[in-house]
Symmetry: C2
Amino acid sequence: MRPTIGIVGGGQLAWMMAPAAARLGLPLVLLADPDDPAALLVRDVIDGRPDAEGLRRLASRCDVLTVEHELVDVDTMEELAAEGHAVRPSAATLRVANDKIRQRELLAAHGVPVAPWTVATDLAGVEAFAGEHGWPLVLKRPRGGYDGRGVWVVDDPSSAQAVVDEVAGEDLLVEPKLPIETELAVLVARRPGGEMAVYPAVETVQEDAMCREVVLPAPVSEQLTARAESIGRRVAEAIGSVGMLAVELFVVDGEVLLNELAARPHNAGHVTIEGSVTSQFENHLRAVADLPLGSTARRGPCAVMVNVVGEASDPRDRLAEALDVDDVAVHLYGKSFRPGRKLGHVTVTDADVDRARARARLAAARLVEGPPS
Amino acid sequence: MRPTIGIVGGGQLAWMMAPAAARLGLPLVLLADPDDPAALLVRDVIDGRPDAEGLRRLASRCDVLTVEHELVDVDTMEELAAEGHAVRPSAATLRVANDKIRQRELLAAHGVPVAPWTVATDLAGVEAFAGEHGWPLVLKRPRGGYDGRGVWVVDDPSSAQAVVDEVAGEDLLVEPKLPIETELAVLVARRPGGEMAVYPAVETVQEDAMCREVVLPAPVSEQLTARAESIGRRVAEAIGSVGMLAVELFVVDGEVLLNELAARPHNAGHVTIEGSVTSQFENHLRAVADLPLGSTARRGPCAVMVNVVGEASDPRDRLAEALDVDDVAVHLYGKSFRPGRKLGHVTVTDADVDRARARARLAAARLVEGPPS
């Protein structure tokens, strides 16, 4: 009737799931560090790690297992599913989402457009690809990268050799450095039976390989939006996702190409809290609890989210300055201050995207700049 | 910089404040029963009652004291303020908000329109008022009533005598039974320095003296709306409220008259969570923390809230049925099921008020009717 949902992780994604779960009356239990942000909003926290022992403790206390990050012992998730636990997303979905090489193999076979790619373990492999596509290239660790970690742009054989040395013979995904026009993301909620709800595509604006801004809806042609949303559906079906799926995409030469996946709520979807009828966090819970999905329609003409990334001061000390900006929704994750760390985000909804962007940037800037008030 | 806010009470109002406080990074501490709804979302709970001892324990742990209900030892709140604690709203505001006779005395002197009234302690007093205004009359306990408790409609001297006997010589507020056309409510956020933000007036629909539906904006003339909002501002200034103030109003013969007050977030304002740029819960926290207030503008054309009042079944067992209604936001307070108890509410935003009302009523009805799914 009312499943208890066990979440692996206690970061900002679980922190944003918690109010949605409370509203719906869905009990939560976290596998997390008791000092994690989400532990402030969830009473039932298992102090443990996402290893076999932790996952089994969590499974014994909930009806549905889900995740807010990928760094989880997938083999144990698979064993738990085989023993009858509801594991959503499945181990198979997590394996694809966690591995950029598997993704390309599987999704290209399902007709999802991907950039040219190969796998190399040494300089010869990289150079062979460069012979076909030219320099510069992008080398990626297939697993574990985020916010630009595990991704290198290499201009020539000597810089490629340095990366090969660094990963010490592990597989590297090799791609051309694409002339990216725009980055998009599509968020898809999917229930165990296959029912889907697709959010309108958003534009994601990166800086130093970290997502900085998101614009809902993406300011691109209807044709590109439709392509992106269609790819989102195809990916969700191909990998059998349950819960939220974020599909990050590149627009290159007017074509939409797969970048990467995350089988969970995603930074690109924070804008849905204010911008959409149902947030990605509520739809993640509804999907994994196998409840009817909520509308993904926009509440208004547009919404812009800007991340709050640690700079000069702790954003919590600059709240008054940010709230002095009109109509801004401030979300501070309760994480300790560190330069370069995502500490929160702000969202502005407005009829005009430029006004929304200007106000969101102003509020985010006020939270991180200058001396504390 | 970042005040810790102490809330007296742990019911649904504190439960709805908790996510807003988390988003803003404002630490909360509750004086509540650890089984209260809000204790699910707030880690720091003082297990105690709102008496002198409890309030002093709370004050020692927070920077700002506020309330989610009126049943608080106001004398202690006054002492704490005299000792230098920030008590918001003040004891003086609480005394007026808690006493319907004081309200009328004070507010009539400030030019707020009120219905004819008197105070009676015996049948002779009631009959004298009836001689002037006729039967039926409404008799009210000046303090402690809610959802129709402490309010009696009397048609004749014998039924009036029964009420006089029941209250055993205490003061009774006596008013004519007014031909009410519409009930309105105005919500006002006010900071310590006097800055105010007024929400558009809402219509409140009562049934058996309990609020059942709220419509934002109230479907009445601009003139009545403007009158209501002006009264809201005047009341907030007259009683020096800090935090949210709810002013309930009657429309009688085209005039707007004071009904009663609550110096806290209020059921009439739950619709602001989805319907307004800033919810009443966030603005309450911003006001008592002396932070800039958020916009009270509507997010869209209209929103309708319907309370979920316990009937045949526990709403938590009927979630799937309710979520199958399009675009409905479900809020279940986590309170144990009891017929007649407010267990939650649902809100629908739509361009058309009739469609919004129909969907909200349908979702609320599905939550309470029939056998569990």
